[in-house]
């Protein structure tokens, strides 16, 4: 069974921007290893010569015409969803 390390867990948490405590990292290391082990059963299936499955519902070419859609909303309403705004902009903690 694949073992994942506590560092792997912390790395994945960091990528997902989730703050976890050391205890939680410990717990998830065990949980995630078990989940991976469960999924690993799939490795026993021979997939030689098979195309990867990208999608299971069989839909193709779901498109729309290039026409502007009226979403019955406004810039003000959309901006109001942001945690913080600054005039006409969304304000975020300094990046760069």
């Amino acid at each position: 069974m694949t073992q994942i390390s506590k560092d792997d867990v912390k790395y994945v948490a960091a990528l997902a921007k989730i703050a976890i405590t050391d205890d939680e990292a410990e717990k998830f290391t065990k949980d995630l290893s078990e989940i991976l082990g469960y999924v690993e059963q799939l490795d026993s299936v021979n997939t030689d010569g098979l195309q990867p499955t990208y999608q299971v519902n069989g839909l193709i070419n779901i498109t729309r015409d290039d026409q502007i859609i009226d979403y019955k909303t406004s810039r003000e309403k959309l901006l109001a969803n942001a945690p913080k705004t600054n005039g006409e902009f969304v304000e975020v903690p300094k990046v760069l």
Binding site: Y11, L15, K17, P52, Y54, Q55, N57, L59, I60, N61, I62, T63, R64, D65, D66, Q67, I68, I69, Y71, T73, R75, L78, L79, N81, A82, N86, E88, F89, V90, E91, V92, P93, K94, V95, L96
Partner: protein, 492 residues
Amino acid sequence: MLDKSVFDSYQPTIGIECHVQFKTKTKLFSGADNDERGKLPNQATSPLCFGLPGTLPILNKEAVRLAVRAGLALNANIGKISSFDRKHYFYPDLPKGYQITQLDRPIVLDGFVDVPVGESMVRVRINHAHLEEDAGKSTHPAGAEYSLVDLNRAGTPLLEIVSEADMHSSAEAKAYVQELYLLMKYADVTFGDLQYGNMRFDVNVSVAKKGADELGTRTEVKNLNSFRAVERAIEFEVKRQIELLETGKAVRQETRGWVEATQKTVPQRSKEEAMDYRYFPEPDVPPVVLSDEFIEEVRGSMPMLPSKLRAEIEARGIDQQTAETLILRDALTNSSYTKTVLAQEGNEAARFAANFIANRDISYCDGLEKDGKSVGELPSAKKFLAVFELRQKGELSSNNADALLFALRHRPEAEPRELAEELGFLQENDSSALEAIISKVLAEPFNQKAAEDIKSGQMKAIGFLVGQVMKASQGKANPSAVRDLIIKQIGV
């Protein structure tokens, strides 16, 4: 300071990624307005652009068509089945936390661009091009502890064109991005306004000793938005890397930014330390399956592209530089001057039209636009021919031929000869009328000395007399006819 021979002992290798914004009416996955020009910040948006829960992306059919057009312009194979993937990273200008892009099955497969570099041709292979959504724009007010996000650009369809590392100098790279610009303009997929970031370039640069088996460590300079910046950034990187290697240091593989003010590249903090984007197939957007009929239909609607245009124009006896000017001018002003040139009967008329257009400074067109006058089209091919014939018969001076062509742009309904007459542009070729003027001029005491000089063989005095006749005819006489008639009258 290293010797030039040291620099010359290295060979740079360059690959370029180019992001082209499509000129669709709406965004790639939402019906929000895709034209942010003249809009307030965050005005050209929808709930999808803000990444709100409960929204679903639906692919814009027109973006698919434009991607196929772009692919055909790149001499590329089109992916019969293409699909979308999610690329995850956190940045404030990407509210959903992932970008919908194409990783495994892009819509444009392998292709190539033949790039004219001076006298020769360099073939740059295209690895692939994929369709994806643009991110928003964040600005960082000086001194502020916050950044501001405008999502007008979020979701704009982008085609990322990835070249192979087939370029080996800044000049080749510049010529390549210029050719891409022409191709995308002629394929009519983008407004191509570089000032607005409609085309943005990332360049990958490495250097290695000439003849070395392995390439050097590369750096990537991101987000260049002019041909000149591409050229300069590469020149800077090549020099910087050679200097590092020559002083025993190593080139670090990293992402760098271009600082216009200092004309230097600087290291950038990467968005995601490990560049671990955790791609997976986008479940909300089903695959795109294209039929051969559709691809052929698009192929049939493609205009003549620059490489073919060059050959056609040059076959008319027009020099390479003039051909380039015409092709570029059409792209910059959304005109079809090259068509006007090629429609002329006979090579002489084609050359005349080509030179007229190429010799006009581009600011002439810009100037008209600023005055609120429509630039419109140059006179029709037929009218060009009529003006050319007037000029050839000597009825128009070279200056007046130009003036007449300008005038015709604002009087498209006028017949060239009638308009020339109305504007007093026609030259006097009628010999008897001219001879009367010449007799009068030669009779003037003031002009006797010049006439005597000519009689005694000093032909340079004739210019003075031609000038006097031109003045007397109010500029309407044809100077070469005047010259012949003066010689006849004086009898030398």
